[in-house]
């Protein structure tokens, strides 16, 4: 990992540890205050625990122009961003995409191209609905590896993370503690419940928290939709297409809508927020990834709306191409943060238990 980022985070953490005024904002400070000296692993854990709510920055007596020049949200964002690249498997892919919006766009276009090609080259004989464009077997042949590879990659990344931060064996109670934190984004509430400082300097609002939860729950609903459909296909012998009031459609439509709204709001917020309080060199990558995720939702909704029109084959190829790019890029883009954040929250529950 980049030693200058770690060194800067260490310098700042030592000053924070002598002050402690911010301990009521989030989980980072109690964890920070439990240490006296900060190893690279400690800093990596703190960095991934930090949700970039920025409360500590605006409350800080020591921000520039003060000579201590504290900017803990940025120092931790730099370490965090760097850790995702370092833990990625393969590492080269992490370095290629994390900070590179152009590479993400390029991968997405390649996804479109692959699906258009597949639709043409693997033309089906006699499928119904979407399967008339691309057979179910062809879809499985493309998406099964595109789903399993990121899972494997993430698993390797998390293992590397766990070794770096010195994590202990995970018990169910650790997981439930972490999930309850993530489920309502406790760490974006500022401790007092007023929210975080993101869109308008030191004003506390819930905008980012709500946008994030729309994305998170939108994504989970979409994922549930696909999972339910897969089960219906294989277990109940009920192949697509499904009606409006079927489980896959209800889940998918609500999830897609949330995803689109959440990503749109998040991009709007990120464009308003002060970029110097995050990892500045990752801004393009983050925005582009959020755009891709929103586009997955949007193209899915368009596909539903235009499913019976002549546009359907093109819409299907575009939607599936975006989904493919999204899956394959998951370990190497901002999407990875969800997994590392969960790991950090689990580790924090362990720390509190041990403490």
């Amino acid at each position: 990992m980049q030693t200058d980022f770690l060194q800067e985070a260490r310098r700042q953490a030592e000053i924070c540890n002598a002050c402690r005024y911010c301990e009521g904002y989030c989980s980072v400070f109690p964890a920070l205050q439990a240490e006296r000296a900060f190893s690279d692993g400690d800093l990596t854990q703190l960095a991934n625990l930090c949700h970039n709510c920025r409360g500590c920055y605006y409350a800080c007596q020591y921000t520039a122009p003060h000579e201590f020049a504290l900017n803990l949200p940025q120092a931790l964002a730099d370490v965090r961003q760097d850790s995702w690249e370092e833990f990625a498997f393969p590492r080269a892919a992490g370095k290629a995409f994390q900070k590179n919006g152009f590479a993400i766009v390029l991968a997405t276009v390649l996804g479109f191209a692959l699906l258009f090609w597949a639709a043409r080259a693997l033309a089906t004989t006699g499928g119904e609905g979407f399967y008339a464009v691309l057979s179910h077997n062809a879809m499985v042949a493309i998406f099964l590896p595109a789903f399993l590879f990121p899972l494997l990659s993430i698993a390797i990344g998390l293992r590397r993370y766990w070794q770096t931060v010195g994590g202990a064996p995970v018990r169910l109670s650790h997981l439930s503690g972490a999930i309850s934190s993530a489920a309502n984004m406790r760490n974006l509430k500022g401790g007092h419940g007023d929210g975080c400082n993101f869109e308008d300097e030191d004003r506390f609002t819930h905008a980012r928290r709500y946008a994030h939860q729309a994305i998170m729950y939108g994504f989970l609903l979409c994922f549930a939709s696909t999972s339910v459909a897969t089960l219906m296909h294989y277990l109940l012998d009920m192949p697509a297409p499904y009606g409006l009031f079927s489980a896959p459609k209800v889940l998918g439509l609500s999830g897609g809508t949330l995803l689109v709204l959440g990503c749109g709001k998040m991009i709007w917020l990120k464009l308003r927020a002060d970029t110097s309080l995050g990892a500045t060199n990752a801004f393009g990558g983050e925005i582009t990834f959020t755009g891709l995720l929103g586009f997955v939702g949007l193209s899915g909704l368009l596909l539903y709306a235009g499913g019976n029109s002549g546009w359907m084959p093109a819409l299907l190829a575009i939607h599936l191409g975006a989904v493919l790019a999204f899956f394959l890029l998951t370990p190497f883009t901002k999407m990875a943060h969800g997994f590392y954040r969960m790991a950090a929250l689990v580790r924090d529950v362990q720390r509190r238990e041990a403490g």
């Binding site: 030592e14 000053i15 540890n17 002598a18 002050c19 402690r20 005024y21 911010c22 301990e23 009521g24 904002y25 109690p30 205050q33 006296r36 409360g55 500590c56 605006y58 409350a59 800080c60 007596q61 020591y62 921000t63 520039a64 122009p65 003060h66 000579e67 201590f68 500022g190 401790g191 007092h192 007023d194 030191d202 004003r203």
Partner: protein, 461 residues
């Protein structure tokens, strides 16, 4: 703002903001003239962290009760009676209604910070510290239509008989004047003017560090005192504590404190001990050490500890100087090595039974046969690596201020100045004549800020 405001508030910290908010809520048009640039707004309030509050039963983050009499007794203890009991009781009694007022105006509290459990009953901690309080008040003030000028330095208040006729200030390089109906002075003490400090305290003060804002230079205070406005508080005194000698000249704040003295020996630049390091627990002694260090040559002290004591105190902002031998440590710290060796050897030889060592209680583990003695926590300095910190005197605030009555109103001779009120550190000497009581400065600022704002608005309306 093109029109003349009803009220000019001089200063931009807690007291100024409480005054401005209160006045604006009464319908007055208020202008704040803050001499600091925006990132440094808020004076010493930026560095505060809590509010000492009377209460009957649990209130907000506060547990149990803290009665008026107990609060007053605490004040009497630290001031040695140097207070105005009537004003003190007013501040104490009003503090209880201030806490909900603060919350209504955007301040958020949190449970007592770790390591400060002893204050959980008496002091309400601001979530995020004093700067977050200041931020919240600026937000509230702006919503109420209060105008704020940063880098607006008031140079002179022109008195005309018993009223302030004109406020002179500079802004963006230009001299400007306003003639508001009411003026509230809430611009702190004079501790950042080290020339003034040196005149008051003696030349040693040039070597003091200023723990808070560099903008509290006492310009308005001096201007008013020169014109005969009634004064209060000892003009020669300041509250000073011993802090890390490597701290910045200004604005080092909380992180420059050093809590390791009880586990150390402290020597001067000649490597000689000069006071009992274990006299009492540190929170009761750090102010004394500010004065002790100020009395040493070059106003500097050197704390020496060994490896076994390193984790017994709160980490401070800078890592200690570290060496494997005392000679090397002496060299790194610029101390005479032979003399340090001798001092440590004498101290070590004077240490006795240590089995009763207890870092957080007066343990009676004492030296025998040396002067000065160390009466608690006396363990020999033997275990390498050895660690050192330099100590300097850090000034927190000054006591000289404007004398006010229970309406926060200033006077000249035996008359009230009809449109001048003061709040916060600039009048705190009326109540805190000496010593220090954690969180009481914010109480005085909040109580008298609100009174001043109300009175100023009533006058203006």
């Amino acid at each position: 703002m093109t029109d003349t405001p009803d009220i000019v508030v001089i200063g931009g910290g807690n007291a100024a903001l409480c005054a401005a908010i209160t006045a604006a809520e009464k319908g007055a048009r208020v202008l704040i003239l803050e001499t600091a640039p925006k990132p440094y707004r808020g004076g010493n309030s930026r560095h505060t962290r809590n509010f000492r509050c009377m209460h009957h039963g649990p209130l907000g983050p506060l547990v149990e009760s803290y009665t008026e009499d107990e609060y007053l007794a605490d004040l009497m203890k630290v001031t040695g009676g140097k207070t105005d009991e009537q004003l003190a009781r007013l501040a104490i009694r009003t503090s209880e209604e201030c806490l909900p007022w603060m919350e209504e105006h955007g301040v958020r509290f949190q449970p007592s910070l770790s390591g400060t459990l002893s204050l959980a009953r008496t002091n309400a901690f601001f979530r995020g510290g004093g700067k977050s309080l200041v931020n919240a008040y600026y937000r509230t003030a702006e919503q109420l239509g209060v105008d704020v000028l940063y880098e607006a330095a008031v140079t002179h208040l022109e008195l005309d008989g018993d009223r302030v006729a004109r406020v002179d200030y500079t802004h963006e390089g230009k001299a400007k004047s306003l003639s508001p109906k009411s003026v509230v002075v809430a611009s702190g003490g004079f501790q950042a003017d080290t020339d003034w400090l040196a005149r008051a305290w003696g030349p040693a003060a040039k070597n003091f560090l200023i723990r808070g804002t560099p903008y509290n230079r006492g310009v308005v205070l001096a201007d008013l005192l020169d014109q005969g406005i009634a004064q209060v508080g000892d003009p020669t005194q300041c509250h000073a504590v011993a802090i890390d000698g490597r701290a910045p000249k200004f604005d080092g704040g909380i992180v420059t404190r050093l809590d390791c003295v009880p586990f150390s020996i402290v020597v001067n630049k000649d490597a000689q001990r000069f006071y009992d390091e274990g006299e009492d627990v540190w929170p009761k002694r750090y102010a004394i050490w500010g004065r002790l260090v100020a009395a040493q040559p070059d106003q500097v002290g050197y704390v020496i500890i060994d490896a076994k004591s390193l984790n017994l105190f709160m980490p401070s902002v800078f890592p200690p100087i570290k060496a494997d031998t005392l000679a090397e440590l002496a060299k790194k710290m610029g101390l005479p090595a032979d003399a340090l060796d001798k001092t440590v050897a004498e101290f070590n030889a004077a240490c006795g039974e240590q089995s009763g060592f207890h870092p957080t209680e007066l343990d009676g583990v004492a030296t025998s046969g040396i002067t000065p003695p160390k009466t608690n926590w006396a363990r020999p300095i033997t275990e390498p690596p050895f660690y050192g910190y330099s100590l300097r005197t850090g000034v927190t605030f000054t006591y000289l201020g404007l004398k006010v009555d229970e309406n926060a109103q200033c006077s000249i001779g035996d008359r009230l100045v009809s449109n001048l009120w003061a709040a916060g550190e600039t009048m705190a000497g009326s109540i805190l004549g000496q010593g220090y009581l954690a969180g009481f400065g914010m109480t005085i600022g909040t109580v008298f800020g609100r009174i001043a704002g109300k009175e100023a608005a009533t006058h203006a309306n």
